[in-house]
Amino acid sequence: MTRDLRIQTSYALLLAALLATSAMLVRQVDRVRGDEPLQEVLYIPSPTVVKRMSLGYSGLLADIYWTRVVQYFGSKHKAKATQYLLLEPLLNVTTTLDPKLLPAYQFGSVFLSQKPPEGAGSPQAAARLVEKGIQENPQAWRLYYDLGYIYWLELRDPAKAADAFERGSKITGAQPWMKVMAAALAAHAGETETAIYMWKNILNSTEDASLKANAINRLRCLRVDSDVKALQDRVDQFTSQNGRLPSGWPELISTGWLRRVPADPKNIPYQLIGGRVQVAQPDLFPFITRGLPPGRDAGDMPGEKGFKVVKKPTP
């Protein structure tokens, strides 16, 4: 070994030893200091200021902020935190820096809407975030889908959910079932006429056989709901005028309240039991909400069970 090589080797070994020593010391320092509390501080809270400071490279900064969102959510989630104070402001900065960053709206809304400790428990903030995303990306149909689910599952507002699905279904490239969701939710919200209108649209616009069959089934159920309501109104009016319940359909026909025995879409006559209009075979109409036998509500229907989605499915 030449002298020069010996010197070089000595330097390399010394350097490696010193670096290893400093690394060990850092570990000791960490142990002494313990876990530093996670700082809930956003140094620059204004998204506009952050955007100006990016000197035009806002896309990269948005990626960094999005990574920070993921890390922040991950660390809080792991610690089973009940508060996610920085989550909404961080998402706001991220989406202002890059309004086209769709994952920030899609995943961010899930982080915001889920109940603690799974998320921030702020579905209103989640809906605001997705609305912002829709404003910036009106052609991204998946955002309408996300908004629909937030309104439906988290905010329990089927009317707004139906509106979100309906708006999204009109976007080019949207999945056909967006229309189905809109119609289903409109029916769920009690807005029968809207649901009938939307299901008819689906029936006329789709070529898909299963969707057509589903639409026909839904329309039949909606017709049953509508029939039962109209018939029950007449029965109630008869009762209030005569001071007693009608004995059956023949009495209502003979007194001019009805022209013939009413029948459901399968041509099976409706039943009048104790002044209450009922469907003879409710299992044939899985989505009906009216005319069910006593002790059986809409939630027991097989169709309604299928309707209750607990977890948001992947589109």
Binding site: R52, G56, Y57, G59, L60, D63, V70, K100, P103, F107
Partner: protein
């Protein structure tokens, strides 16, 4: 004339590529492009977006830093080393030819650097996307716009180099780059003002280089195509603005007493 311009440009290029700092910066930029692959892993659903944003930002920023640090010394170094007198006095080189030649030489250097960094960048994109598609043409447009940024900043650095010291030239060049990224905002502010202030602000807003329109990195990261009209207009704008800056540089340089 063309022969003299080519000779100065080629010599400037040769001198620049000998600079070790240049290689460090290219290596650093390439490492950043490579690291974007790792950054994508610790985030969520943005592997490709982060690669494009980080890669193109690195190419843009490092090129601008190289342009400024080399550009500011192009004239002042020659004066300091007293090599300028040899060139201008002993050879039939006019002052405008010297400035234009230096400018072309540095632009050539930066173009080669950008191409080298782009090779690394596209290799990373191919790795992440498992190939290149027709939509990736917009990435080429973004790199072309970055080259236009280099052209503008080189001309500006050269302008400051003709009348100021290297330190002040670099400060001026960085400052004007920063102000240029706010060009669109400045025009917005001018519209809100009234009277003489409005005229002055509008003038200032159009005087600063429009770097904002040359940055389409976020756009291409989301696979949004760049309008062909924007490519044409940006090219014409950079040509016109660069010609104006070079004219100012030559004008100042012609008036300088180099003895």
């Amino acid at each position: 004339m063309i022969g003299r311009l080519t000779a100065i440009a080629y010599n400037t290029y040769r001198e620049a590529v000998r600079d070790r700092v240049l290689y460090n910066l290219i290596l650093f930029a390439t490492l950043i492009v490579a690291s974007s692959l790792l950054v994508g892993q610790i985030s969520l659903e943005i592997n490709r977006i982060v690669l494009i944003n980080l890669g193109l930002t690195a190419i843009s920023l490092f090129g601008i830093v190289i342009a400024i640090f080399i550009g500011i010394g192009l004239v002042s170094k020659e004066i300091e080393k007293r090599t300028l007198y040899t060139v201008l006095a002993a050879r039939p080189v006019r002052r405008w030819e010297f400035i234009t030649g230096k400018f072309l030489g540095l632009v050539m250097t930066l173009t080669v650097n950008a191409l080298l960094m782009s090779v690394g960048f596209f290799a990373a994109v191919m790795y992440v996307s498992h190939g290149l598609g027709r939509g990736d043409l917009s990435l080429v447009t973004a790199i072309y716009f970055i080259l236009l940024e280099y052209v503008l900043i080189t001309a500006l650095a050269l302008l400051f180099s003709t009348f100021s010291t290297p330190i002040f030239s670099s400060i001026f060049a960085f400052a004007i780059f920063a102000v240029g990224t706010f060009a669109e905002d400045l025009r917005g502010f001018a519209q809100m003002a009234t009277g003489a202030t409005r005229w002055m602000m509008t003038g200032a807003a159009y005087l600063v280089p429009n770097f904002a329109a040359l940055n389409v990195i976020s756009q291409v990261a989301h696979n949004t195509a760049v309008e062909p009209k924007l490519i044409l207009l940006n090219t014409l704008y950079v040509m016109a603005y660069t010609a104006a800056v070079l004219t100012a540089s030559v004008w100042i340089f012609e008036r300088r007493n180099l003895k």
